[in-house]
Amino acid sequence: MTEFFQFLFSGLTVGAIYALIALGFSLIYNASHLINFAQGEFVMIGGMATVFFAAAGIELPLAAVLAVLLAVVVAVAIERLGIAPAKGTSAVGLIIITIGAAILIRGLAGIVWDRNFHSLPPISGEEPLVIMGATLLPQSLWIFGVTAVIALLLWFFFAKTLWGKAMMATAYNPLAAQLVGIDTRKVVLVSFALAGALGALAGVLITPLAPTHFQVGVMLGLKGFAAAIVGGLGSGLGAIVGGLVIGIAEAMAAGYLSSAYKDAVAFVIILLFLVLWPSGLFGLRGIERV
């Protein structure tokens, strides 16, 4: 049983990270019906930039804030320089643009920073809590807490503020939203900025537990996308539940089955969901599937 809880804690921790990434996918998807394959790079930027800002002598909290801002700038640049000029491009074309942007960012990170693994100190020490015989690191609590707060803030933003409502309107019907005077271009831009911030935050939080590297974005991004699909693309609650489901499934598979195939779990789940349950757990809209 101790073992089970140990796996559960590590699954929940990484699952909360996937949830933050999945929220970014869903935000952008809602605003522009686009899958941003560069989402994982925001996570990499969050970790790597914090490491290098700190190395340059900046206080760690400030370094983290700057890293998040950097990811926001990069996200906005992707939208402005890559997505906006390609208006009218096919779905395949947009996929290639965002993948291209991801590879470009990765390449730049490898050059501007380096190609080594880096870690960060945990926010409040490494003294683990022991629950049901299993250990839980304080960093995990930080991750749960931040993810919960973000989830609440996003809920408040979308349910209670004018800007959030405008973004929801755009998600449901972009044309109608435009007609009632919502600047849908700005909505897309804001959603990219938010997604960049969420991704980078995930990167800052996970780096003390799993070292960062210029290529960590690939897998983290894809797993975040798996989480978004499982939860139902575009659903906020779905992103969080999906993230936890993927995280726990991965941890259990690694613990009980084979750690070699840990990375495959998310992709098997994604294939099963896409084929059997494409709208996901909480997806409202039907999938493009004539």
């Binding site: 390609a86 395949v92 993948i99 291209g100 390449g107 490898g110 050059i111 098997v268 493009e288």
Partner: protein
């Protein structure tokens, strides 16, 4: 010129001439190596272009089939002593079989969902290849026996050059034939309007499955050739980045253009070998090519140039 490039045989003659004459300008065997790698990538891209360019169905996982072919050849010949040709055919059967098994549910998806599903498939294949260490040698890779065909060992750059060149010409000819047939038109119809295609009697699902299997089989064939040619095989050949490279070659050369696929494969394979910027900044250059092509030249090189110089819109 336009007729020459536009018509079936004209383009093929140009390709044959290029393959025959290029060695005259090759100063050393490094150039042959590059040309052979170009040919292998071009074979994959011709198949992938049938899927992406003609039928309009994206795949972000075709390196998986390339890897299955490569490892089938490597494992069956080196570990089990099969004749290479038989191993190659086994790879084709395995790739084709997997492609056939997954095609129906996966190709019912569209756009981003299809991209994600094919990506997942490709990644699962590459994870299996790098985790089954006993079978594949894992991430460090495994050696591959030389290729023998009908008792002759293919060794040395010249024989490899002619073998890959000949295969490329054959695959190009088959692809051109397929495109210019009722089947090729059905594929293009699927791309343009599935509803209209179905109303015209096209069983769109059957054609998507067909083209997915054909492109997987071609990738597998190229993978087998690659394994024997390089003599050492690592799972990198089947990974996500490799899949993306293949797609980028197709897009850069020009979707729905068989010769475009060859040009795209040639550029993205040869440039990193000859330009040091490309070598040092591989990711940056690849990413830039992808983004800039889609924004400024969404039709790709060959169709764009054909339109500019010959007014050829097809």
């Amino acid at each position: 010129m336009r007729r020459l490039l536009g018509s079936h045989h004209g383009g093929l003659v140009l390709l044959v001439l290029a393959i025959l004459l290029m060695p005259l300008g090759f100063p050393n065997s490094f150039y042959f190596d590059v040309a052979i790698n170009v040919g292998i990538a071009a074979i994959v891209c011709i198949g992938l272009n049938l899927l992406i360019g003609y039928a309009g169905q994206i795949s972000l996982g075709h390196a998986g089939f390339f890897g299955i072919g490569a490892y089938a050849s490597a494992i069956l010949t080196s570990t089990h002593g099969w004749p290479p040709l038989l191993a190659l055919l086994a790879g084709i059967l395995l790739s084709g079989g997997i492609a056939f098994a997954v095609a129906r549910p996966i190709l019912a998806l569209k756009g981003h969902y299809l991209a994600m599903a094919t990506l997942g498939l490709g990644i699962i294949i590459s994870i299996v290849l790098s985790q089954e260490v006993a079978l594949t040698g894992g991430p460090d890779g495994m050696p591959v026996d030389p290729l023998t065909l009908f008792g002759f060992e293919i060794s040395g750059t010249w024989s490899w050059y002619w073998l890959v060149g000949g295969t490329l010409v054959l695959v190009t000819w088959l692809a051109l034939n397929l495109v210019d047939s009722p089947i090729g038109r059905a594929l293009r119809a699927v791309h343009s309007s599935e509803i209209a295609a179905r109303v015209c009697g096209v069983d769109t699902t059957a054609y998507k499955v067909l083209v997915f299997v054909v492109s997987a089989v071609i990738a597998s064939l190229a993978g087998s050739l690659f394994a024997h040619f390089s003599g050492w095989l690592t799972p990198d050949e089947a990974d996500f980045l490799r899949s993306i490279q293949f797609v980028t070659m197709v897009v850069l050369g020009g979707m729905a253009s068989t010769f475009g696929a060859i040009v795209g494969a040639a550029l993205l394979t040869a440039l990193p070998q000859f330009l040091t910027v490309f070598q040092n900044y591989e990711h940056v250059m690849l990413g830039l090519v992808m983004v800039l092509t889609m924004i400024f030249m969404p039709r790709g090189l060959v169709p764009t140039l054909a339109l500019r110089f010959f007014g050829d819109r097809s």
